[in-house]
């Protein structure tokens, strides 16, 4: 071992208790889980659940010496979008990003009709879960905490909050994780209650049954979201979501374009087919393989 390696090893030990394992023979599942949590906690300290609003140039800086096509795409993005807000990459980033973007939208717009509409949807989701056989006490706390957030978003009430407070709440585990779990319940309920619709997509993703998928990939915290989750959540709450894809794919024509997909709730689809009004999602998330952040229009 040369001196450089020795130094590196020493750094490693001093910085990382996790690696100090002497007895691998007795290293069991519990230890692995504890180690997993430790690593997650260490990572967690690096970025809050929901970050600060940053100019899009911060995103470009990440790829400073990276793929030219990504830099090219970020440039295209910057025509439309001005800011990004990062979320923690803990497997809950889609739900966390949606939570903040949606609540922030309500806070800024003070759209009381939307608050009333969403409350109706939440009530409906509650009935769905009951009819699917979920014990009420497993989900009621998560539901009431979300409804509390809605109430404090509208100004003029006793408990109304500012933008800064919203950021603080979404960074506070005792609020943030409860709301994430609330969305997981909603998503699972929607998938199970329309299992015929979701089954082919789920088979394509994981070759498991709808129930197994919900149990293994929707309901546990930290399980990442895919288009199935997004479709289900958007449908259940009736909230359109735009996802902008930032990846290395390119087209042959030479000009770089950035793909996006709008998740339009099933209930709004007929309006769309009728060709009346184009639906403009208020929530925009930036997808980079494996992760979602929040994007803001200029």
């Amino acid at each position: 071992m040369d001196s450089q390696e020795k130094q590196a090893a020493a750094d490693c030990e001093s910085n990382n208790d996790v690696l100090e394992i002497e007895d691998w023979a007795n290293f069991r599942d519990d230890d692995i889980m504890r180690q997993h949590y430790d690593i997650r906690d260490q990572e967690a300290e690096k970025i809050p659940y929901v970050g600060d609003k940053e100019p899009l140039s911060a995103l470009a800086a990440e790829y400073h010496s990276g793929s030219p096509i990504l830099l090219e795409k970020i440039k295209v993005l910057s025509d439309q979008y001005g800011f990004i807000r990062r979320t923690r990459g803990d497997g809950n980033c889609f739900f966390r990003g949606f939570m903040f973007a949606y609540l922030e939208h309500l806070l800024v717009s003070q759209d009381r009709n939307e608050v009333d509409r969403i409350k109706g949807k939440v009530e409906h989701c509650k009935k769905t879960l009951q009819s699917l056989g979920y014990a009420e006490f497993t989900f009621e706390d998560f539901f009431s905490l979300f409804l509390e957030q809605l109430d404090s978003i509208l100004q003029g009430g006793e408990n109304s909050i500012s933008e800064t407070e919203l950021v603080q709440r979404c960074r506070d585990q005792s609020v943030s994780d409860y709301v994430v779990m609330f969305f997981r319940f909603i998503t699972s309920g929607e998938i199970k209650s329309r299992s015929e619709f979701f089954e082919p997509f789920i088979l394509g993703l994981s070759s498991s049954t709808v129930d197994q998928f919900c149990k293994a990939s929707v309901e546990p915290m930290g399980e990442e979201s895919d288009h199935v989750h997004i479709t289900a959540l958007s449908d259940a709450l009736g909230v359109p979501i735009r996802v902008v894809y930032l990846d290395r794919s390119s087209c042959d024509s030479g000009s770089v374009s950035v793909n996006h997909h709008d998740f339009i709730p099933a209930s709004d689809q007929h309006t769309l087919d009728g060709g009346s009004v184009a639906i403009n999602p208020k929530i925009t998330l930036l997808y980079r393989p494996g992760h979602y952040d929040i994007l803001y229009l200029k």
């Binding site: 889980m33 997993h36 006490f137 497993t138 997981r184 319940f185 149990k215 309901e219 915290m221």
Partner: protein, 192 residues
């Protein structure tokens, strides 16, 4: 903090239909973060007739963190440590969700008793036996159920048979060979 209000509701719900499910959860002492559960061994398995005690500890993050569960009744099963009672089950680890409850977790453990997964063992010795010498596995599992998971334990049977005049060491080996069944043992002792 453990969400004690929820734990209270869980205990209430679970113990309401104990007649149907056979699954019980009760606090150990006054603190709701330490509980004990019991599950009946499923019928048609070597665990039938036994009542198995599970020690349950709730970490601060419950219901976000999984409950820590471990058998305190000794059990012979590929996914349960014969030494420590540790359980190898995904929902007690990364597949836990706040949508689950103590009762659903205990039901899953009961289901694990019915369908062992020797490919993902907690106890390698038991798993090997399960795969390579299934008859011996069934016998041992039955014997352990008789010996440790029944209120009327092996000692009582040994005492009865010894009183009939059979030597104790022979009584013990015979009982073990027939999986703890008192009548079968008597038959064998008489014919042998």
């Amino acid at each position: 903090m453990v969400d004690f209000a929820r734990v209270q509701k869980e205990l209430h719900e679970c113990n309401k239909d104990v007649q149907v499910s056979g699954i019980k959860v009760s606090p150990v002492g006054g603190d709701l973060s330490h509980l004990t559960g019991s599950i009946p061994g499923p019928t048609g398995t070597p665990y039938e007739g036994g009542i198995f005690q599970i020690d349950i500890k709730l970490a601060d993050g419950y219901p976000f963190d999984p409950p820590k569960m471990r058998f305190t009744t000794k059990v012979w099963h590929p996914n349960i440590s014969s030494q420590s009672g540790a359980i190898c089950l995904d929902i007690l680890k990364d597949q836990w969700s706040p949508a689950l409850t103590l009762k659903t977790a205990l039901l899953s453990i009961q289901a694990l008793l019915s369908s062992p997964e020797p490919g993902d063992p907690q106890d390698a010795v038991v798993a090997q036996q399960y795969l390579k010498d299934h008859q011996t596995f069934l016998g041992t599992a039955r014997y352990w159920t008789e010996a440790f998971a029944k209120t009327c334990g092996v000692e009582e049977k040994v005492k009865k048979l010894v009183e009939m005049g059979f030597p104790e060491s022979l009584v013990r080996s015979t009982l073990e060979a027939v999986g703890g069944d008192e009548n079968l043992a008597l038959e064998k002792l008489c014919s042998g």
